[in-house]
């Protein structure tokens, strides 16, 4: 009896792993296609099977995409735009996370009329399609003197990040034990004391969720990047688009795939390194109601 049960269990486990493996293979297929064709010479891609491993391996496409591919008039590769994107993403993520924490704190720990309505109003902002804000936002940036600058892009991404970051922190702080805050207050902690000494230090999981979410969204954002930047500030998505979508000429697919992968490395790293915390953070924050 016991024996049969354990073999039955083992069969279950084998089946479980088989299913998971099949699904994993399916999920990896598109990236397999990208990676495997990025290390092939162009002739092999044109003539051969896109699923086959390379016959001749080459890292040339990666080097080209990084430093010599045609982005505009000059063959600069993606390198300089990588820097632009970091200059944009790092402050934008930092600022919007801080704003989220501040808003979450205020909305959960203080009572005032219309607080819930204000929160709902902020939350609705995550649902608007960005195309509709393009023209009025351009006007706003012009008036603020931010048109065509990295600061302008930071501003835009912070504005449209408020909804999500506030949502994350509000739900997290709503579940935060009140006693801790109360006793801190008794000890004389002021407004910022509570935020910086009590709440933020124990906000690790939700900060991870917010940072991942904002980092990915802002890094991958194209429409604002193309419309609100100028020659000195355009981000990597615009550069990648220029590489991949050139109108005439030979399409160097291997370079395109290498470039696409290079552009995706920062977000992939963020997900892979902190994927575990992501689930933990979701558990702690936005899901539990």
């Amino acid at each position: 009896m016991a024996d049969r049960r354990s073999t039955g269990l083992r069969a279950d486990r084998i089946f479980l792993y088989a299913v998971l493996l099949c699904l994993a293979v399916l999920f990896l297929l598109p990236v397999y296609v990208m990676v495997c064709n990025s290390v092939k010479p162009l002739d092999e891609i044109r003539g051969g099977n896109l699923m086959a491993l390379p016959i001749v391996w080459t890292i040339e496409p990666w080097l080209t995409a990084w430093s010599t591919a045609q982005i505009g008039v000059q063959p600069t590769g993606l390198k300089p735009y990588f820097v632009n994107s970091f200059l944009l993403v790092v402050p934008a993520v930092a600022i919007s996370t801080l704003i989220g924490a501040l808003n979450g704190y205020i909305l959960t720990q203080f009572r005032f009329r219309g607080a819930n309505l204000l929160f709902a109003a902020m939350l609705f902002s995550v649902f608007i399609p960005f195309q509709i804000v393009l023209i009025p936002m351009a006007k706003t940036l012009g008036v603020l003197g931010l048109a065509g600058t990295v600061k302008g892009l930071v501003f835009v991404n912070v504005v449209y990040g408020i909804g999500f970051t506030t949502l994350f922190f509000r739900n997290y702080y709503a579940a935060f034990p009140n006693e801790l805050i109360r006793s801190a207050r008794m000890d004389g902690a002021d407004f910022f004391g509570v935020l910086f000494r009590i709440l933020l230090p124990s906000s690790g999981p939700i900060i991870v969720v917010t940072v991942i979410w904002q980092f990915t969204n802002i890094w991958n954002e194209f429409l604002f990047g193309a419309s609100f930047s100028d020659y000195s500030s355009f981000p990597i998505t615009v550069a990648l688009n220029n590489l991949v979508n050139s109108s005439t000429g030979v399409k160097e697919y291997n370079v395109h795939f290498a470039g696409a992968f290079i552009a995706a490395i920062p977000t992939l790293v963020v997900y892979l390194v902190s994927g575990k915390y992501f689930v933990r953070g979701l558990m702690a924050g936005s899901v539990k109601g």
Binding site: L16, A24, F27, L29, P30, V31, M34, N49, L50, L102, N103, I106, L107, T108, F110, R111, A115, N116, L118, A120, A121, M122, L123, F124, S125, V126, F127, I128, P129, Q131, I132, I135, M137, T140, V159, I162, G163, L167, A174, N178, F191, T216, F222, L240, F257, A260, A263, A264, T267, L268, Y271, L272, G275, K276, V279, L282, M283, V287, K288, G289
Partner: protein
């Protein structure tokens, strides 16, 4: 605690920004939809002309019916698969982290990046069909992306691929939060694993279903890159979604008033979907 001046002051920039950059701009869009704007905004009142023209556009009706198919299948499949993946991963398996990462990573990529890879995979000439033929399965046929009636399903496949991992993460977080005592009690009563999931665990995941639904619904309505990268709206106009319609009419057809009218319709639809959710979120914090 009652709010003094400081919290209100610190909240006000966010409120102001959202008020101007979301609601102000929405009002502006609504206004535009009643003007005769073409290439750039114009302030000449034109009544409901652009709405009449919007509903006379074959493209708009195609986009609407596609949205219906796309949204219902995409949300349904992503929720079912996401829950399924979460349950599979929740079975105390080895290499849990690796599997989770594999299902989650598409979320990190934009469609500017993965669009070409998907286009190739789905293209019968070079992709899956071609590979299967090379492997000797001659009768294998998968040419949906070239077929006006089926191409929208290709868009769904790619969209599901991109977001299922995220839905899985939501459910995984939910599963880990389920009361363990109830489960062990049910086990003692001799309930099978699937019965436990069906009768005890899943009913407790209500809030997760809501979160997943809302996030997927807003993605379905906002999906733009996906369609452009995969089919660019084709074959013909068969994979247009309202977001594609809005962009095309506003920015490439120089029909900004019609574009604005379509945006207003989309906002109304989004409002219908998310208002109940907003109210439920509002009620979450009562101690406030």
């Amino acid at each position: 605690m009652r709010a003094g001046a400081l919290p209100k002051l610190l909240l006000s920039p966010s409120v102001l920004l959202v008020l101007v950059c979301v609601y102000g701009y929405i009002m502006f869009t609504i206004y535009l939809s009643f003007t005769s704007s073409t290439l750039m905004p114009s302030y000449e009142w034109a009544g409901t002309t652009s709405y009449q023209r919007l509903f006379a556009q074959e493209n708009w009706h195609v986009a609407l019916s596609n949205l219906w198919v796309f949204a219902s299948l995409y949300i349904g499949v992503a929720v079912v698969l996401g829950l399924g993946f979460a349950i599979l991963i929740d079975q105390h398996i080895r290499a849990e982290g690796a599997f989770r990462s594999i299902f989650l990573y598409p979320m990190a990529l934009s469609f500017i990046v993965t669009g070409t890879a998907w286009k190739w995979l789905l293209d019968p000439g070079v992709g899956l069909e071609h590979t299967m033929h090379d492997l000797g399965w001659e009768s294998f046929a998968f040419g949906w992306i070239k077929d006006s009636d089926m191409a929208i399903y290709c868009v769904i496949i790619a969209a599901v691929w991109q977001t299922t991992g995220f839905v899985m993460a939501l459910f995984l977080a939910g599963l880990r939060g389920v009361d363990a005592e109830q489960i062990s009690a049910a086990r003692v009563d001799g309930a099978r694993t699937w019965q436990i999931y069906l009768h005890i665990i899943i009913p407790q995941l209500g809030p997760v279903f809501v979160s997943a639904f809302v996030i997927l619904a807003h993605m379905a309505i906002k999906s733009y890159d996906l369609v452009i990268a995969l089919t660019n709206g084709g074959p013909g106009r068969s994979t247009w979604l309202p977001s594609v319609f809005m962009y095309q009419y506003s920015f490439t057809r120089n029909e900004m008033a019609i574009g604005a009218a379509s945006a207003v319709m989309m906002l109304a639809a989004i409002g219908l979907v998310v208002l109940p959710y907003l109210f439920s979120e509002m009620r979450k914090v009562k101690n406030g």
